[in-house]
Amino acid sequence: MFWNRRKTRVVEQESAPVWVEVLAPFSGRALTLADVPDPVFAQKMVGDGAAVDPASDTLVAPVSGTLTNLFPTGHAAGITTDEGLEILIHIGMDTVELKGEGFTPVARQGDRVTAGQPIIRMDLERLRSVAKSLVTPVVLTNPARVAALEPVASGDVVAGRDVLFRVQVRREADER
């Protein structure tokens, strides 16, 4: 009888939903994707998530994982979490055309990163004068792994501390 109860409890623990918290990559103002001045992001074509209008100059990892993507121009980064979520952080709009001007990566593609760890430093003053927008979407690019996504933050957020949104990981029943 005790065995049965114990087993049941373990099964319940194993089937508990796994949530991943995605932190603000910059300090600044939290926005919805609809506020991003680019239809590809605003219409969630790249993926669902949220955005920040940055007031700080260092992009920090919003989640722990592997830095699977650090674009050579330093304006975008992608992290794959241990749960298999792929998160893209894209600094500003049309910033690829700056060809790296104003962006200094401080991590390397392939690095293991911890949430809150600096990835890219930027020259905020210079970029404000040359970039069309610095609004930074943080989006999940593999929706097949997502069971639910809930926005958390609104208003002012602090980089690496405040949760921007949280994601429930979809279980892959046929895996393992």
Binding site: V40, V46, N69, H75, A76, E86, L88, E97, T141, N142
Partner: protein, 88 residues
């Protein structure tokens, strides 16, 4: 399995927006699709994968498709890339 090599001629390489268009097109096809640059090959249905190739303007990539509808997938992707991925 079919594959074709194509030169990327859009303005600023395979960054977020063109990569998204490419991945969305690849996702419409039931077969597996990959993009290769040099000796690195990635799943053409993954935005982070495609972006990680960091393909620049004028660089050559190979599209490979395998499975149901592979010919149609290859044709659609090559045409999309040749058209400049929305920013020729």
């Amino acid at each position: 399995m079919v594959e074709q090599t194509v030169t990327l001629n859009n303005r600023s390489g395979l960054h977020a927006r063109p990569a998204t268009l490419l991945v969305r097109e690849a996702g419409k096809h039931p077969c597996n699709v990959w993009i290769r640059k040099g000796d690195k090959e990635v799943d053409a249905k993954s935005i982070l994968g495609v972006m990680s190739l960091a393909v620049g303007r004028g660089e050559t990539i190979t599209v490979r498709a395998d499975g149901s509808g592979e010919e149609a997938a290859l044709k659609a992707l090559v045409e999309l890339i040749e058209s400049g991925l929305g920013e020729a």
